[in-house]
Amino acid sequence: MGFLSQAWVIARKDIIGELRTRETVLSMLLFGFLVILIFNFGIEPGLREENLVKPGVLWAAFTFAGILGLNRSFIAEKENDCLQGLLLCPVDRSVIYLGKFFGNSIFTLSMGLVVFLFFSVLYNVDLLQVALPLGLILVLATIGFAAVGTLFSAVSVGLKSRDVILSILLFPVMVPVVLAAAKSSGRILDGDPLSSAGLWLALLVVYDVIFLTVAIMLFDYAVEE
């Protein structure tokens, strides 16, 4: 069994646990829905500036809901001291990081897809026209979000105020992802082609590669007491 397949064993374990309790994804979805709904109350239909606000609403919902999921990511490992059992396994720490990263990515992506659907209904977005480019932006943003979030979730899990600490750690580092995702999806929602957001997409790709690599290298220190 290779490096990636062992990481998948960890992700699969997280998915089975989540399918059984539905605690993480449901709370993420509920929070995402609420953010989109509340913003919708405040935005007049047909307002000229509506298109300027839409991407911000979408990515605010994604980010806040995503953080809820990341907060829970390592809490399951604290119960019965499971993290110690995991660290005792004869695998490189990077396998453990990748396993948790895969799990977090799947949960965040699932939440993002449903939130996108809800958003498209409330804000009259022609989903057929924007589904592919927005899907690509969602995937790239999810990778960056989960790469950094998994690392910081591991750092903060043993702390008393972990929810606050995770948000404080994560938001500044996440600025490039949120900015690039909001700017590029703004172009798509305006009806421009995907190529018009090329630079922002390139920023997302570079961010993903750099932070995934850095997080793999730093994870060992994050879980060491």
Binding site: M1, Q6, V9, I10, K13, I16, G17, R20, T21, A76, E79, N80, D81, C82, Q84, G85, L86, L87, L88, C89, P90, V91, D92, E224, E225
Partner: protein
């Protein structure tokens, strides 16, 4: 400090290859020394029980020996692997049973064992799980969620988890914590089967009766050091309680 036979408290008697060799181990948490210059040698295949009061550093010792945390200072060699450098190599050969079970409550017993078995790359995993669940008396609850298990059942499943990869060195850190008498007796029966002479075992406990029952050697740890070591064959079992309190002291304090 000495053992009952006059040897150094950490030394082992006999001529077999040591499974555990520790020299001058220190472990700090921030500025607090949980282990203070501890020495220990244990022959391969022997069963050592380490007694000590709460806060003596027993769990920290187990966590260092089992690669869960690194030493601050000193030489640690377990199963021929120098720690922390060769921790990855050692992990495949080590099993840990703790008062925490390391089991995922929202997975079934089978899913938990399958997960850990895959992480350890255990061959013929299904057969191995079936045999172990039979051994710990849980085959009838194989597909039940761990969160529905009693504390005693969870601890027995934890033994199955620790034995999945057939480790030759096992660390048992206060495994009786939170168990009622019936569950303790069942756990004791399972632990007896582990002491085959092929497997090296280290048990930590502050319960004298349970700790003395199965081991070959005893040690007493106080304030991060081993202060007593003796073979059970030559130990005055009846007088051990007094020996323990003589070493621990009635007014055990970390600042003394």
């Amino acid at each position: 400090m000495t053992g009952g036979d006059g040897s150094s408290a950490g030394e082992v008697s006999g001529g077999r290859q040591p499974a555990i060799r520790v020299r001058g181990l220190w472990k700090y948490f921030d500025h607090f020394p949980a282990i203070r210059g501890l020495d220990l040698e244990l022959e391969s295949g022997r069963f050592l029980t380490v007694f000590g009061p709460n806060g003596a550093g027993k769990t920290t010792l187990i966590r260092v020996l089992s690669t869960q945390i690194g030493p601050t200072q000193g030489e640690v060699e377990v199963g021929g692997c120098a720690l922390p450098g060769q921790a990855d190599r050692l992990r495949r050969r080590v099993g840990v049973i703790s008062h925490n079970t390391y089991l995922y409550p929202n997975l079934t017993a089978n899913e938990n064992l399958t997960f850990f078995g895959r992480m350890y790359r255990v061959p013929d995993l299904d057969d191995r799980i079936t045999a172990l669940l039979e051994e710990v008396g849980l085959s009838g609850r194989r597909d039940d969620l761990v969160r529905t298990y009693s504390r005693g059942m969870q601890q027995r499943l934890s033994i199955a988890r620790a034995l999945l990869h057939d480790p030759d060195i096992m660390f048992l850190d206060e495994p009786y914590t939170g168990l009622d008498q019936h569950a303790s007796r069942m756990l004791r029966d399972v632990l007896k089967t582990l002491h085959t002479g092929e497997r090296t075992l280290v048990l930590t406990t502050h319960n004298l009766e349970q700790g003395l029952e199965m081991c070959d050697e005893v040690a007493i740890q106080v304030r991060g050091r081993l202060v007593f070591r003796e073979n059970v064959a030559t130990l005055d079992k009846a007088g051990f309680e007094q020996t323990y309190f003589d070493h621990v002291g009635k007014d055990f304090r970390w600042d003394s």
